[in-house]
């Protein structure tokens, strides 16, 4: 197995793990952690699969760079809303989650 493929498999594991955490947790911080872990998993999958047996590929790497910035922007936005929500409600999880 190539390094690339191996880390693609790690990506699969992270996706599964992240999804589990995302659904199972109530606390919004934890859900965001899970979201970021799942995101990392998908990045590994993207680069790992694309490069497996074919050498470095700048395209998925660039996509991941874009993805990382988007992830940090989303996380930051979520944290801003979370802080505000905590401020007005005193809660750190959503009421009666669906």
């Amino acid at each position: 197995m190539s390094t690339d493929l191996f880390f693609a498999w790690i990506g699969v594991a992270l996706c599964g793990l992240g999804l589990f955490g995302f659904i199972v947790h109530h606390h919004l911080m934890r859900r965001l952690l899970a979201f970021n872990i799942m995101g990392s998993g998908s990045f590994l999958l993207l680069v790992g699969l694309a490069q497996d047996g074919r050498g470095p590929d700048p395209v998925p790497q660039a996509l991941v760079l874009t993805g990382i910035v988007i992830a940090v922007a989303s996380t930051a936005l979520a944290l801003v809303v979370l802080r505000r929500w905590y401020r007005v409600s005193g809660e750190s999880s959503l009421p009666e989650d669906v």
Partner: protein, 99 residues
């Protein structure tokens, strides 16, 4: 793929698991930052130095600081500010709105 990769990969998954499973939120966030740094190493192994740099700086660094920052905020106590009618009402189906 060598032993190093195997070790790195397993550690990565373990850290992720710890970040998700820790009872203490602070520990979870720290684990997440460690996870980010390990990810940077993984990117090096995947011949992606650009991502490694970005992951270290943004993924682990800034996201970590943001999370810690918010964590500090969540430790503080506030009086809930909404008046009674403004209290967060359950907005999910079957409750609150049902007549």
């Amino acid at each position: 793929m060598g032993w190093l990769d195997l070790l790195l990969g397993l550690t990565l998954v373990t850290t992720a698991g710890l970040a998700l499973a820790s009872r203490d939120l602070f520990r979870a966030v720290v684990m997440f930052i460690v996870f980010g740094l390990l990810m940077a190493l993984v990117w090096v192994r995947l011949q992606a130095p650009d991502i490694a740099l970005a992951e270290a700086a943004i993924g682990a660094g800034l996201t970590g600081v943001l999370l810690l920052d918010t964590l500090g905020y969540l430790k503080r106590r506030f009086e809930p500010t909404g008046t009674n009618e403004r209290r967060p009402t359950p907005t999910t189906e079957g409750r609150g709105d049902a007549r």
